[in-house]
């Protein structure tokens, strides 16, 4: 899968409270959540984001609460992929489970600026910064997590495990 889009750039420790503030968690409707995505860190995000755009952040993206509403909101806002130097662990699981593409690539995260155009090839594991003319190799997923991604998320995997009587 190849995505090309414009960068929305953030720093380190972007927490789930700013990705989707708890005051909006009285619903789990993706379209409703998307209206408030990133609201407390970037009030313009929900109106400026274009389908296919890319979030780039530094270390520990998605720290804090376990709310799966965070990756759901990002995905529903039209973001194609999130690139970060590292991800908080519950967000990392949630992204894989809900089918939000994520890429761990510290060098690309350091290099990219807001407004840059990026091209991300998930299968090849590469991030190209078209604006800077640079290219980076992303961290590969461990084989088990790649299997979950390939099967379309956690629940199809679990259904297969239950069917197999395990």
């Amino acid at each position: 899968m190849i995505f090309e889009g414009t960068v929305h750039k953030y720093g380190r420790d972007v927490d789930t409270d700013v990705i989707i503030p708890a005051r909006y968690l009285n619903t789990s409707d993706p379209a409703e959540l998307a209206k408030h995505c990133m609201e407390d860190i970037d009030a313009e995000f929900a109106t400026s984001v274009q389908p296919g755009d890319i979030i780039v952040a530094r270390e520990n993206f998605g720290c804090g609460s376990s709310r799966e509403h965070a990756p759901v909101a990002i995905k529903a806002s039209g973001i194609s992929v999130v690139i970060a130097a590292s991800f908080a662990r519950i967000f990392y699981r949630n992204a894989i489970n809900t089918g939000l593409p994520i890429v761990v690539c510290p060098a690309a995260a350091a290099d990219a600026q807001a407004g840059d155009r990026l091209r991300v090839d998930l299968l090849a594991g590469t991030v190209e910064n078209l604006t800077h003319g640079t290219s980076y190799d992303a961290e590969a997923f461990p084989p088990f997590m790649q299997e979950l991604i390939d099967r379309g998320g956690l629940l199809p995997y679990v259904k297969a495990r239950i069917a197999a009587g395990v």
Partner: protein
Amino acid sequence: MGSTITEKILARAAGRDEVHAGDIIEAKVDLALANDITAPLAIAEFEKAGFTKVFDPARIALVPDHFAPNKDIKAAGQAKTMREFARKHEIVNYFEVGRMGIEHVLLPDTGMVAPGDVVVGADSHTCTYGAVAAFSTGVGSTDFAAAMAWGHVWLRVPESIRFVYSGRPQPWVTGKDLMLHTIGLIGVDGALYQAMEFAGETIEALSMDERFTMCNMAIEAGGKSGIVGFDEKTTRYLQSRPEGSRARTVGQVFASDADAGYARVVEIDAAAVPPTVAKPHLPSNTVAAASLGDVTIDQVVIGSCTNGRLEDLRQAASILRGKKVHADVRCIILPGTQQVCLDATADGTMQALIEAGCAFSTPTCGACLGGHMGVLADGERAVATTNRNFVGRMGHPGSEVYLASPYVAAASALAGHVATPEEVGAKQGGSR
């Protein structure tokens, strides 16, 4: 090389002789839990995937605590979704308003967690139960849906960091201060993907309530779990749970081997830790409470899954008894459970707090996450015994939260600014 307590628990749950950090395992789940925010999303995924039954109705807990008692019509709808699911699947551990509490205070207190258990919860503070020598970790709604259907969870066995605390804490220094200090030391991703193992003479001397507080905040350092080894205090706590409960009837005690492998060992001189406060907007942004005397406040929140246990309220009452909350401050108490309310009534704690001018809430997460029962306006500032001080955490993105212990929060409520108990004339020792 030996194994850590976490590796031993996960080996048991995976049905293996041993597992090591980095292994991917499928672990049997002893308890899976969710709340009124995370369960509805999980229920939708569970049903969308075509699952028709849960693996074991007795091993699932559903607690309406975040926006309950229902704060608005949409929240009422979410609580209803969870309630109807609980009825349909005969989830006996559904705790209705009036019986419910803040999940991470309620579930161990009702005896649902035993040593050696594997617990997954659709709430990041599920790491709390490490205080009873269980492995417990927060997951998202889809992971919870999978655990409900399958009774297993896939896990990467975490490396452990061993935190060894020595020395006797100064007066007014609690487990909360030790934990804030620790997060300040290693940062909000200092234990990313790792288990935080708390040990040493200082931890042995801590009460169970303080151990719960420390494990509760492992997630604020990025930790997968927090854990304290089993000792006679654990035994006493477990044996005083309800008769016939899991805590009293099952459980397997594990301990880290002397030659277990750790990612690192961090030694902390507990005697050098002052009453500590985390300034906005990260739990790692810690300073001595005494250095913040010029920070005026509008609100104090005492309670939550971090500090809503009886001992926490007693500590606050020991500062506030016979005095009055500052005229410019709203002081809100969020007790952990109905039992905590009853106990605080029986021993005069609730009366002292109410007479001091505190508002005593029903158990709810409410104010901690800016949901209800104490939302902050633009420009307002709070001292809270809760766990997070991110931008907008307790309300308007222009508000600020300072994290502290119940002693410091109560002293601040009297002073109208961030204060230490000494500053408001409290006698040394408190209820410790």
